[in-house]
Symmetry: C2
Subunit: 210 residues, 2 copies
């Protein structure tokens, strides 16, 4: 009986699906192969090695991010693309850590970097300023997303975990930490998931440099 042939696309697509569902550490050549009804070594006909496979799905993720365009309203553009990146990374939780330490970026990532730098340089930032600015913004995106992923999404669960955390922290040794956990338990999702808090800090600060 004929099987649909393997291909780089089929491999990457299944690998992405598995990473989204179970995290990067659950991705092994053997498991991806099994999901495709194939032996592990067959993947190597279409993919250089595991690193290449991960680079592949990482660049697919990069391709999902909405690009900024050069515009008078550069802050709006950067805010929009930051929120897009944030949403995309929330959909692909494993990707944050890979984004953050990817050596040579793939084509989609390059396009994303180029568009961001281009948007900033078009309104007067020097290339070096634009580089620093983009780094600062992306650091915020990555860090914020990572932190949000580490917390329960559902309000009820969040509250429960925050309260348990507060109880587990000795009030005498760590008073501020303790107080924070208590306070967090009583926040709304809007308050605590305030992506724009740090972003606005950064964008307004950047504007003052122009």
């Amino acid at each position: 009986m004929p099987r649909t042939p393997l291909s780089r696309e089929r491999i990457l697509s299944k690998a992405m699906e598995m990473a989204d569902a179970e995290g990067l550490s659950a991705l092994s050549m053997r498991k991806v192969a099994a999901q495709l009804d194939v032996e592990a070594m067959s993947l190597y006909n279409h993919v250089k090695n595991k690193g290449d496979m991960i680079d592949g799905i990482t660049d697919l993720v990069a391709g999902e991010i909405t690009l900024p365009t050069p515009d008078f309203d550069w802050k709006g553009e950067m805010r929009a693309r930051s929120q897009s990146a944030h949403r995309v990374l929330m959909r692909h939780p494993w990707a944050v850590s890979v984004f953050v330490e990817s050596g040579l970026p793939g084509p989609n990532m390059m396009t994303y970097l180029d568009a961001s730098l281009g948007c900033l340089m078009a309104v007067g930032f020097t290339p070096v300023q634009a580089d620093l600015a983009r780094n600062t913004i992306d650091n915020h995106i990555y860090g914020f997303t990572r932190q949000q992923l580490a917390r329960p999404r559902r309000a009820r669960d969040f509250k429960r975990v925050a309260k348990a955390e507060a109880k587990a922290i000795p009030k005498d040794s760590y008073p501020a930490l303790h107080r924070r956990s208590l306070a967090l338990a009583d926040t709304t999702a809007e308050e605590r998931e305030d992506f724009d808090f740090g972003l606005t800090l950064i964008l307004d600060g950047l504007e003052a440099l122009l």
Copy 2:
């Protein structure tokens, strides 16, 4: 001939040394044991498992960071502790990624978090604001440090790599990226390693909230 007995401290100290020298991925129970003239399984008498070992050395790193104290000059305090954290993480390159996704923090890390939050809350930030602020600051520290670690430290090497990078980026497809690499090649270390650039953005922005 008598051997100095194993202990948690001896294990963590050697593991830290190895991680500093060769990176986290080169740390295996077998290799750490070998460096201590001992078999792998012996480590398990003093350390719960590999994760516990890594948590252990991570908290040692956290302990090296200078703590902020509540002070009228909270910006100075936060800047000092940020620079300290940056320096410490540069000494222990492997630690950035662990810091960033550590689940339950160790005692030194808790102390560090508590001191930072305490410093911010003492000058009037609400607990939730302090939490967001500390996150934003730490995200900047981690991101900036990671990026700096990825680049050559020596000026000559940096220039060479930046130029090679510029040459490798197609000018037509990625004009802004290309221009940035060219510009970076002509910067001084002070310009490009401007840790305070983003930090000041954030601190000044925070001050406006008070």
